[in-house]
Amino acid sequence: MNLSTKTLEYVDRLIPRYPLKRSAMLMILHAIQEDQGFISKEAMEWTAQKLEVTPMQVYEVVTFYPMFRQAPIGRRHVKVCRTLSCALRGAYKVCDTLQENLACELGHTSADGNFTVEFVECVAACGSAPVVMVDDKLHECITPEKAPDFAAKLKLETNALQPPSRH
């Protein structure tokens, strides 16, 4: 595991801000995931050492919170909100369109490694439903009618990206 200098420095600045080291857990795991794309067993052991807890205490956190993952995903993470306000405005149809147009099965990564499409629960943007998050950005009012264009734009944008550097 090769964490960037930026991440290492961030972690060292972060821990002393908390009254107890263990409190920095979620923030460190976020930083690792951002750096590496996922949280490996090695990363959990490293975190445990940093926070002076057992690796098991890190593992139980990683497995509890839906945002943490233990395996790499596609270059773009497409998260479709499926909870009631979005569903009432067609979120399931939006998800079907995205799966089809991005050639990606729900909960899986596309064969070209570009996309992972998932359902997520309410992301607190119900007034502009249906919403889709791509990586860390929220896209609002992605109606079933707009979904094909949205997928097409996403494909263009992703193809123009530099080859993956994360993994």
């Binding site: 908390y18 205490q57 499926r82 149809k93 943007a125 119900c126």
Partner: protein
Amino acid sequence: MPIQERRIIYRHIDEPGYTTDIACYQRHGGYEILRKSFQRKPEELVQEVKDSGLKGRGGAGFPTGMKWSFLDYKSGKPIYLICNADESEPGTYKDRQIIYKDPHQLIEGVILSAYAIKAKLAFIYIRGEMFEGARILDKAIEEARAANFLGDNILGSGYSVDVIVHRGAGCYICGEETGLIESLEGKRAYPRIKPPYFPAVLGLYNCPTIVNNVETLCQVKHILDMGGKEFAKIGVPGDSGTHIWGISGHVVRPGYYEIESGKGTVRDLIYDLGGGPPPGRSFKAIIPGGVSMKILRVGEKFKVKLPDGSPGEWGVLDIPLDSGSFTQCGTSLGTSGMIMMDDTTDMVEALANLNAFYAHETCGQCTPCREGSLWLKKITTRVCNGGGRMEDIDLVKNVADQIAGRTICAHGEAAAWPCQSNVPKFRDEWEEKIRTQIQAREHGDGTPAPRKGLRLV
């Protein structure tokens, strides 16, 4: 008279030219209330909040001043303040607007509240999915620190406090205050049992802790501005201040509207401001405040006590927009995130959608909730997929009845209430749906009865 918005918290939200930087905030009078309030004793500020009658805006509606008065100062342990910015009750998106568009208002509210309760350190626990929101808050905190509105010896008062932005990682249960505390300690968000773990006595690191919602802490700023007694005059007795209504679902103009408590009815909100149902349709059901609250069927009537004490009757659309009125109708305004469903909605699908949510979000600690929410999801999804049995109707109600009241935290009630209200109120729809399915299975060619309406699960 048409319904009027009264924007106090949202005064500058979406105002053209209003930005998130401290210079803009200060041009609009920002941090002036902090300057003035730091001349006063913390106890006086707590008294103002008590006088205001403010009820918490996180869903439970507990009086904020009373919550603060439970703090155990005698223990001599450090006091912590946590701002609950884990906005995750489906239908609710009011705190997001404050965080993204007026972060300094929240930070001023946090610092004022921290000073009032003599907190040693404050946290803003923000949902993990609000990546940009966390960055905006971090930047705002650095600006406030540079101006000495937080950090050491704030404005020469001798009081010091730091604010840490802490990100969650996608768990609904972290909105439950003791679950949030466990999460902030770096653990799984398993809610704690009360007693003994009342946060004001045994909270973060077993120290006295106050957990308040984003909007609540912003309200505190305005209470200190106008004075508690003056604030108490806004709205109706027993529910002072404004409510930020976020409306979503089947409505022409979804959006957020800040309305003085009790000034206006559901009809005013969803027709005058929301524009009514989509063309050619009519409202069938409304969930008043976040999906955990009990559903209302348009057409049902409630026997109520009117403000003058005389008996009266309200339909769903007549309910005034204050907490007491919703309680009288057997539900609650919760987080004031209202979801509308029109006549095309299949109510079994709507319930199945929510049951899938609760099954995903249960922390798994208490058996009734862990097992029950999963069964509720399985049964309602099966009914949606064409495999309904007549006995499922009572079964859903029965399973829900065995969750509520039998769990450590209110997730049990949250998972049960939608079932306990949907099933009896829409029993006719359940029966008709299942009858059609049975007919298709017994007399058809084996293909299940087609789904009607929009797929929700």
